[in-house]
């Protein structure tokens, strides 16, 4: 009467209509989730180096976006001092410059770097760690 179910591609059959809208826009919601697709990167000897560069830059860009979202969240929650805001802002600004240089150098556009890794809420916030400087959110 009862049986264990382990669907192989969980969820694929639940999609009724999908026209390419980006589920990853959810990453703007700090209280939601991080979801990454199952990436399969096929590369061959001729393109390996280029593909790996793209992967590395995509990862850097993803981390940049995560940091930016975290920073914004903290600013909104009033958990950064003015001085910290300025420092974090400058750092992110320089990071953006650096990424622009690297993209130009390798001839990549912003779209080439989208890995669709989402937002990770600060683990400490979720688990409700002890109040410490800039730790607690809710």
């Amino acid at each position: 009467m009862t049986e264990a179910i382990r669907p192989d591609r969980e969820g694929a059959e639940k999609v009724l209509v999908g026209n390419g809208g980006d589920a990853m826009q959810d990453r703007d919601r700090a209280d939601t989730l991080a979801v990454a697709p199952d990436l399969r990167l096929q590369t061959d000897p001729d393109n390996a180096a280029d593909d790996l560069v793209k992967l590395v830059l995509a990862l850097v860009e993803t981390v940049r976006q995560l940091m930016e979202r975290q920073a914004i969240r903290r600013v909104e929650n009033g958990r950064l001092s003015d001085e910290e805001i300025e420092r974090v802002g400058l750092t992110l600004m320089r990071l953006e410059d650096r990424m622009a240089e690297l993209k130009a150098h390798f001839g990549l556009q912003q779209e080439d770097l989208s890995l669709s890794l989402g937002t990770v809420q600060d683990l400490a916030d979720v688990l409700g760690e002890e109040d410490g400087p800039g730790r607690r959110d809710r």
Partner: protein, 75 residues
């Protein structure tokens, strides 16, 4: 570099988590890097991080209780 992604699964998972979790957060990532058809590197991460209460209860760390009914009325 062709990137095949399980986009449909993301959509369904996002919608599922919105509903089945109470402010939960999930870290979920999988990547397989192949070189010339040979799978070389696999990175897998499937961890669910729920709300503090839910996680603590599920780990037996705290007594549970059904969540409060919506504040209402005449019932």
């Amino acid at each position: 570099m062709p990137l095949e992604t399980g986009g449909g699964q993301d959509l369904a998972l996002s919608d599922l988590l919105d509903r089945a979790l109470d402010k939960g957060v999930v870290l979920w990532g999988e990547a397989t890097v192949s070189l010339a058809g040979v799978d070389l590197v696999y990175v897998g991460l499937k961890v669910l991080i729920g709300s503090v209460d839910a996680v603590q209860r599920m780990r037996g760390a705290a007594p549970g209780g059904l969540p409060a009914a919506e504040a209402d009325e005449t019932a």
